[in-house]
Symmetry: C2
Subunit: 374 residues, 2 copies
């Protein structure tokens, strides 16, 4: 294996680990900040680092269209291009082609689609998606997969999963191994246990440096997602990192760590930061609400984030109402810090063998709800 | 005088000074960053500080409408509200009421207008504008004035200037003096030398802690602005700071410092940062242009700003084309840094008695134009 992963401690099914890459190490369970178009929206890379983020995610779909993989390669790769020296994981483009592109056609070969920017035709296949990620110099490359929307019939899920497994094999063949770099396969199969187990077996047979669980958090209830994790996580190799794609809320993260997941990514902290929603130790708070207008108190008594030091709810409310860019900047920064703070607490709790207690404490905090209005 | 100002050195008519305020000192000539709605747009206050900015400007018009002066006062004043501990100068609202409000009526008493946000009626007068600035806890309060658009007839300019002088006297009476705080009068009179001298005399007779020159950079050629400065600057007290309002380009600043101006404010560096224009030692550069698409070079060889360390033109171009907030953040930061870098060079040159040489060197750089495309 060219991507070393150490499981340092376990507590129940929860794992405390460390991933060693060519671009530095990552403490797990880890939350990856989403940097869609070579930027974590509304943040400088220094600000991203200040949150404790160790690895960011780039989107193959967006980057292949603009500025293009070949251009990024000519400019020295994604790390240099965007000023992030740490590890970068890129998705394969599959999920976004399915959900974003309005004109697309899927075949055994791959997907053809039109750019949402200028309508130009493009193609993604296991080989091309892997090549693009190589051109971007992704630390972690994702296999190309199809991700069907839920709910879907058993037959749809089965066909789609088996196509994804054939694509996974082609992706693996196209991957150029390098020390400290790796490729993750993606388990599919919706919420069907048998399909998920078949998918996990297929991926193990191919062999990857890590294993992702895709096709969840696409509309199904949280309980179904957790039930699926209960089936699929134990079916993945114990000595390799497990990555739950596109998840989730703080409560999703706690529940998934409890089920043995090591890595996450989600637009939630960053997107919410641009829509006035803040994550706090007492659950989410919408700062657009008039109740904050005269409130001199900090957003969260427990918050020690570098973004909101000395900043009142009234000021955040003012920035949001005035549509000031700084509102998005500060809330995004805070939210990402909050997510990393949560991950730190979970990591420490696993290491200390008190994960269940910590999870209960966090849940209790979220359930309290926001402080009463003044 | 409750606002100490020391002229430390002169070189020709250019002055190197230091203004001592209740919120810290300001090295002059100084450029004040515009923080319209209690935020320097697209920048954190830490970033503003990192550029060497020592004083920022707040807009009475915007702040009185949202969040309102009374609310800011209840929240502890503007410094605490926005997290800027240094000096803050607030304008009087006059200029913006004239130029922004679509429904306004001017009388001897003051101006009535409707909010551009919700259409509610408001009033500004010398007394109310001064009270608002007191509520905001402005370090430097500006007298309330009328600022006519140029070109205008002599009679219009004369009537307007004399109204402004009567308003200046009422503003002064309404001002509550405190140690380390001050109020500046504003000379008006368009580009007419006699009116400007009459205005300067009227202000000296009232007596202020500083003197501003308003009603310039509103459409007249630069040569007329400079000619007006040649008349009005020497007519203002030598031992008090002189502030040229709303100016300007780097070349405007150099020419105005040469004519004895000590303080400036302008939206140019910040607004340009949101519209893809960067200021460099070789003049302005538009990063939206396709010529930068593949360009791995830094924006400016001479730039050592904290925003663009390691950042290529290609990346900036990509951010702008992708409409990413980070594009506005980085360019605004860079531009404000560039303005402060320029002011530092001018201050050092005055102190060293080589202002004309430095001005010539800067002009030469700007005239070179951008580096050739790759």
């Amino acid at each position: 294996m060219t991507l070393r992963f150490d499981v340092l401690a376990t507590c129940g099914n929860a794992r405390r680990g460390r991933l060693h890459t060519a671009h530095g190490s990552v403490e797990t369970p880890a939350f990856m900040a989403v940097g869609t178009a070579a930027t974590v929206k509304a943040m400088t890379m220094d600000a991203v680092r200040s949150t404790g983020t160790e690895i960011i995610l780039g989107n193959t779909y967006h980057l292949m269209l603009r500025p293009s993989a070949e251009r990024v390669a000519a400019l020295g790769g994604l790390h240099k291009f965007c000023g992030w020296e740490g590890p970068i994981l890129t998705d394969s483009g599959g999920f976004q082609v399915m959900s974003l592109a309005n004109l697309r056609e899927i075949s055994e070969q791959g997907v053809t689609f039109r750019s949402h920017i200028d309508g130009t035709p493009h193609e993604l296949s296991p080989e091309r998606a892997t090549e693009i990620q190589h051109l971007l110099d992704a630390t972690i490359t994702m296999a190309f997969d199809e991700c069907p929307a839920l709910p879907a019939s058993f037959e749809t899920l089965q066909n789609s999963m088996r196509l994804s497994m054939r694509w996974a094999e082609r992706s693996r063949k196209a991957f150029i191994a390098r020390e400290g770099y790796g490729q993750f396969g993606i388990a599919q199969g919706g919420t069907d246990p048998d399909l998920r187990l078949e998918s996990a077996r297929a991926l193990r047979q191919i062999g990857f440096e890590g294993y992702a669980i895709g096709g969840l958090a696409v509309g199904e209830p949280q309980s179904e997602m957790f039930a699926t994790l209960d089936v699929v996580a134990p079916a993945l190799p114990e000595d390799r990192p497990r990555y739950l794609m596109g998840v989730g809320t703080p409560i999703d993260l706690i529940g998934a760590v409890a089920r043995g997941i090591d890595m996450f990514d989600c637009v939630m902290p960053t997107r919410s930061g641009r829509t006035a929603q803040a994550f706090t130790s007492r659950g989410p708070v919408c700062l657009r609400n008039a109740r904050h207008k005269d409130d001199p108190r900090p957003l969260d008594d427990e918050c020690v984030c570098p973004a909101l030091n000395g900043i009142s709810r009234a000021y955040l409310h003012h920035l949001i109402r005035s549509k000031e860019i700084l509102g998005a900047m500060l809330l995004t920064w805070h939210n990402l810090y909050f997510y990393q703070y949560l991950m730190r607490r979970l990591r420490e709790a696993v290491a200390a063998g008190r994960f269940a207690d910590e999870a209960a404490l966090l849940h209790e905090g979220f359930a309290r709800g926001d402080i009463p209005a003044l």
